[in-house]
Symmetry: C2
Subunit: 420 residues, 2 copies
């Protein structure tokens, strides 16, 4: 194991032992101290970010990525306000998940406890540095943060401030640390630190996630790849279908819960499909249509380009949408099982049996019934905050809030009970 | 990917799609058919096992391992009866884990759904072949079974019978399959079959588990390594302490929830420690004592051998026990955090503050308070059956029953809801 990470991980474990014993009040005081110090140090933080942004611009980084990296005073204010939301959330630690008394008198309680040490690997979004630290602190976990090198100055400023705030609040500052060192190999150090790191959560593109999964010996929670589908059933209400499809595709294109593929029942080829196509094209969407959909849309004067397997598999994150006509609902669910990333699928339908068949036929983290795919989001679902959206099946699936940052312990209480 | 496993995995996925839609009644009919056919085919099954046992004996296999491999008519009857227990258990699929209505009228339900395809890797215990298949079927999962080569004939007979029973019950027989091929490389095929296998559960010794964890790209649930501790506090009731320590160590030594280390508060060095030592030695236990414990036990005429770091780390699975005196409870929890495998720790104490400090200070799957470590068991905790005991923190921790063989889907139901 890398000696610097070993040392940092050992300090994180010690901090985690202290955090296990910290009450919600104490952890909330730590969060308040972080919010206060971030506000007090905002000049230094914004200046550090300006240096990162200048370096990114000088390196010819794309405008979208530079925007993501940029931390203005307004954005910092929003980050600080998000900490107040975390303070208001209930502490998951100590929650009794199951509790019962056995016939022999043993009391069994399954109780939420912190995971221990969480490793976060993420891209150049400065808000993740603070969000992840706040959620880990509230759930009693120490965190090792591995952000992007392009945000190195910003992250160092944020982490320095947060560590000072923990010391202000008499909490162990090693509960929040940067992964030591620089370069890509620090990811490899983190994901193989068995015994020091309890879970690694990668947040980023498909390349990052697959690299982490391939190389990790520490358990991983995969997040966020979204190839989401909307299926419009024969029984759909036309107005609702148009609203939902347009919202799912165009309300915000650069997010994982935006829709990428539209599947329409063939009975609607000459009626609702052209209306859907027109509404999408009007908002600037390029339609990548299969042969049947292209014919129907073409007859209505709506332009399309041909669809390929790359399109069915794509997470466009852009104003593009793959469009197909399906003979029936079973074909839709089969298509989705084949191509989906398992994030969110939506069905627009009024038939209860069609909805039930869709729910059984697809296997994704979330299914939206007569609602936009864009609701798969911790904030929208009332979690208050999320550390990511899991698209895997173990531990957590879908938006992950504070409870997903815990594990459990069975406490078995007797009065001298022995097995016979 | 290995082409044979790819084909088998593809068939398993298809079977899993059918099982997702199967009602509890249908799955229970499949389980009944398995129980009936196993009873009908018992002659062939026991004969196949006799061939495995003869081959194991001829190869000079240790008596304990041969016993574990042996499938008598009585043991087969017990395996068949265990299926009836699984039939009686509630189906976890469809259970609503969380359900609420959002202010905007969206109904949110988090619902249990099957994992999909489960890979089981295990040693030469024929009962696991049937137990795992029954639990996976009940929870709607297809299973790929990879047993020990020394039980190859037995497992083939059991799997052939179970597959015929599924066909009898009009369920897809590919829901239960052996991992194709022979040799150690079949483990590597299974644990890297991303996209085909949703989770791998290894059940066996430390070598097997670490090999799976190191090599897997499929998510793994680690099971069963048990280095369990009993701490006897200054406030302990002496009689309860003797009962619990003797039971935890000697009731059955070859199991993961047996105790391996005894830690005693130093205030009890000359009183309860000798009584505990005498009771253990009387039952044939060799005491591996630290210097302070050896002195106290020696003064009472109780023989010990010196303890080493290997002893503190050991899962003896034998009539051996490491024994230490600790200055106080904090030293006990520190020792446990350092050496425990995270399975089960017990405290014998009457002081509520000591119990609370112990619960915060250790971090294991289970904590027994004034009870034997031997209660960490799915059957004892009322789960009806268990597929293993998880000693990791993600997804499932402690005994795993049917709910742990599921994941969840968020179903978000609206009436044309879109995000603004």
């Amino acid at each position: 194991m890398n000696p610097e990470l070993s040392a940092a991980g050992g300090r994180a474990r010690e901090a985690a032992v202290a955090l296990r014993a910290a009450t919600a009040d104490r952890k909330n005081r730590g969060l308040s101290a972080i919010a206060e110090r971030l506000d007090k140090d905002r000049g230094a933080i914004v200046a550090a970010n300006e240096a990162d942004v200048a370096a990114a611009r000088a390196a010819g980084t794309a405008a979208g990525l530079v925007d993501r990296l940029t931390l203005t005073h307004d954005r910092l204010t929003a980050i600080i306000e998000a900490i107040d939301v975390v303070i208001e959330l209930p502490d998951p630690v100590g929650q009794v998940v199951r509790g019962y008394r056995l016939p022999n008198g043993l009391d069994v309680r399954q109780i939420r406890v912190p995971l221990g040490v969480v490793g976060m690997i993420y891209e150049a979004r400065p808000n993740v540095t603070v969000d992840a630290a706040a959620l880990c602190l509230k759930s009693g976990n120490a965190v090792l943060l591995r952000g992007s090198s392009s945000a190195a100055r910003t992250n160092e400023a944020l982490i320095t401030t947060m560590r000072q705030a923990l010391a202000d609040a008499a909490l162990p500052s090693d509960a929040i640390q940067a992964v030591p060192g620089a370069g890509h190999e620090t990811v490899d150090h983190l994901i193989t630190a068995r015994g020091l790191v309890d879970v690694v959560i990668p947040r980023g593109g498909a390349d990052l996630i697959s690299r982490v999964v391939e190389g990790a010996t520490v358990p991983v929670i995969e997040t966020g790849i979204g190839n989401c589908h909307v299926y419009v059933d024969e029984s759909a209400d036309a107005d609702k279908a148009v609203d939902i499809v347009v919202n799912a595709k165009t309300q915000r294109v650069s997010v994982c819960n935006a829709a990428e593929t539209l599947l329409v029942h063939q009975a609607l080829a000459d009626t609702l499909l052209p209306r859907l196509g027109a509404a999408l094209v009007e908002r600037g969407v390029t339609l990548h249509a299969d042969a049947a959909a292209a014919t129907a849309l073409g007859s209505a004067g709506i332009p399309t380009v041909p669809v390929s397997d790359e399109d069915w598999a794509a997470e466009y994150y852009s104003l593009d949408m793959a469009v197909g006509l399906v003979p029936d609902l079973a074909d839709a669910t089969q298509h989705i099982r084949r191509w989906s990333s398992g994030h969110t699928e939506a069905i627009v339908a009024d038939s209860a049996s069609a909805i039930a068949e869709f729910l059984t036929g697809v296997d994704s983290a979330a299914v939206a019934v007569n609602a936009s795919t864009r609701f798969t989001d911790g904030g929208e679902l009332g979690f208050g905050a999320e550390i990511g959206i899991s698209t895997q099946k173990l531990h957590a699936r879908g938006p992950m809030g504070l409870p997903e940052l815990t594990t459990t312990t069975f406490v078995i209480t007797g009065d001298g009970h022995i097995r016979s």
